[in-house]
């Protein structure tokens, strides 16, 4: 569906994407994970055939975006990071008018609009103004809009950024249904839980490069331990900085990460590690034992957190 090799994008002297290789296959759900500024959105805009490629090769559905932009855009669906809904039209007209841009007959687009409103649970808002929708509803409408041409490939740029937890779950549910229906999904996110829930395979991007590739589980197995013990100490605990505390416990775990507000101990058995910390006479204000996530993978690969 998407084939990129040595793909680059630069803006003036700034290189947003510095040569990446990607191969997305039909029916899979593929993710770009990375922090803000990693080059995910630039990549997505190139794939959506609205941003000229600066270097390397890019083929979408076997077509070249430089010459076949309109043909490519006719066959894909795009859900951009910022909602680009038409605020001057009603909810339903947003779908109908947009569908018409794809050269679809009016009658068919109308049927399709009602179907999609049903799918994203906005039927009772059909005649509302876009401005009156909540953030989550707008996102769902944008997703519905991206499906209006029955795309073979659906691009989602940060589909749930800025939504409250409940709204995110509704969006995830809809996307999961699409995935099950066999739509090829490509999404970017800086939420590891989103990547874990929705993607079969993902690449981790940082500073315009791909730093790791695999399924969420493979990546965790490869780059992290099974569990993580999080230790939170009181402010200036016994006058000791986190670095000093880290040195006292570093032999208890495979790896220790120092964050501004807590220590992360990577270990196979978190409870056991916490017990050993207590044995050393250290008394964290709070402890938490959890499974490793993609966040930990990212921290390991780049030394930085995803959301900052």
């Amino acid at each position: 569906m998407i084939l990129a090799s040595g793909l680059r994008k630069s803006f003036g002297g700034f290189e947003a994407v510095r040569g990446i290789d990607v191969d997305v296959r039909r029916g899979e759900s593929f993710g770009f994970l990375g922090p803000n500024g990693a080059g995910k959105s630039s990549t997505m805009r190139m794939v959506a055939a609205v941003s000229p490629v600066s270097g390397g090769v890019l083929r979408i559905l076997g077509l070249d975006p430089a010459t076949d932009g309109p043909e490519i855009r006719a066959r894909i669906g795009v859900c951009p990071q910022e909602d680009t809904l038409d605020t001057e039209l009603t909810v339903r007209d947003n779908l109908v008018v947009y569908g018409r841009y794809f050269g679809l007959p009016r009658r068919e687009v109308r049927e399709r609009a009602d179907e999609l409103l049903e799918f994203v649970q906005l039927t009772d808002k059909a005649n509302a103004k876009v401005d009156d929708l909540s953030g989550g509803m707008k996102r769902r409408l944008t997703i519905a809009r991206s499906l209006v041409n029955r795309p073979e490939l659906l691009l989602l740029d940060e589909p749930t950024t800025g939504l409250d937890p409940q709204a995110r779950h509704v969006v995830w549910d809809r996307l999961f249904r699409l995935k099950q229906a066999g739509v090829t999904l490509v999404l970017t996110t800086h939420y590891m839980d989103e990547a874990e829930q929705l993607t079969d395979r993902l690449v981790v991007m940082d500073k315009g490069l791909i730093v790791a590739e695999g399924s969420p589980l493979d990546l965790i197995a490869e780059h992290s331990t099974r569990e993580v013990a999080e230790l939170r100490f009181g402010v200036a605990e016994e006058g000791e900085s986190h670095e000093v505390l880290a040195r006292k416990v570093e032999d208890l775990a495979e790896r220790v990460e120092v964050l501004p507000d807590r220590l992360l101990l990577y270990t196979a058995d978190g409870e056991e590690t916490v017990a050993k910390v207590h044995e050393r006479g250290l008394t964290p204000a709070a402890t938490l034992v959890r499974r490793s996530t993609l966040e930990d993978v990212f921290l390991r690969l780049t030394g930085r957190t995803l959301v900052d």
Partner: protein, 270 residues
């Protein structure tokens, strides 16, 4: 699942022809304005108010001017000026404020370019809309002029295409300039350019009010060409000068249009 699989007999999405794309964008603007029809309608009133106030009210104090060798009443002098300036105002309003809003705020063009539409389609569609609207206004204004007895020649019918030409010229240049604007503050420059053109392009008084050097400058401005062209048509005093105005406006519009397309590519396809 029916939602996603292209079921048998369904039409496949495809790129659109230029005419079809323009038609769709006009339809989109029609839908957007359908709820705000009164904004569309009242846009017609401004030149009429000016005609009644300056042309008729102030006209009672003015004796009338000579134009191309004919003595004409003041209202008959001002009316074609209002026709031309309203064509300019309408086009500039659409091409600057409304265009900027769609470009920067409601991201309409980003949305359009995610579909098979191209930047050329967008520029053509927006300009066609502004011309359609301008054409309706000027036709309406011409009817008002007719009812007030301010039209003295069949040439006046050509005043509608003439105002479309004025609209094309100002619309294209306005859009091109809008692509360079950074914030609403920059629109103060638009006001700064429009207001003197409106007041000094021989709209309210003849060129003889100026010293020779200034008159030449005024004669070289696009609105002056538009005003004089309309005035020649509604008073039936068409000549070679009219042809010069037409060529001038067409050239201005063509350059503007080429620039818009280039700038939209640069701004939106990054």
């Amino acid at each position: 699942m029916a939602l996603v699989s292209a079921a048998v007999g369904r039409t496949a999405a495809r790129p659109l022809g230029a005419g079809e794309a323009t038609g769709l964008l006009l339809y989109r603007n029609y839908l957007a304005y359908r709820r705000a029809w009164y904004i569309f309608l009242t846009g017609f009133l401004e030149p009429v108010f000016y005609l009644f106030s300056i042309g008729v009210g102030v006209g009672q104090l003015v004796t009338g001017f000579e134009f191309n060798g004919h003595e004409i009443p003041y209202a008959e002098f001002v009316a074609p000026g209002m026709l031309a300036t309203s064509a300019m105002n309408g086009a500039v309003l659409d091409a600057t404020f409304n265009f900027f809003f769609k470009l920067k705020y409601n991201k309409l063009f980003d949305q359009l370019l995610a579909t098979p539409l191209t930047t050329a389609d967008v520029a053509r569609g927006e300009l066609s809309w502004s011309l359609l609207r301008g054409g309706i206004y000027s036709a309406g204004f011409l009817v008002v002029m007719l009812a007030m007895g301010l039209v003295s020649s069949w040439w006046a019918l050509l005043a509608v295409p003439a105002s479309l030409l004025i609209g094309l010229c100002f619309g294209a240049v306005g859009m091109a300039l809008t692509t360079y604007m950074r914030s609403w503050q920059d629109f103060e420059w638009v006001n700064l350019a429009m207001m003197p053109m409106f007041l000094f392009s021989a709209t309210f008084f003849p060129l003889s009010a100026y010293p020779t050097g200034v008159a030449w400058v005024v004669e070289a401005t696009p609105l002056y060409r538009g005003v004089v062209l309309c005035r020649e048509l509604t008073t039936g005093t068409v000549g070679w000068g009219s042809a010069v105005s037409v060529v001038y406006l067409v050239a201005f519009g063509a350059v503007g249009l080429a620039l818009v397309r280039r700038r939209l590519d640069a701004l939106l396809l990054t």
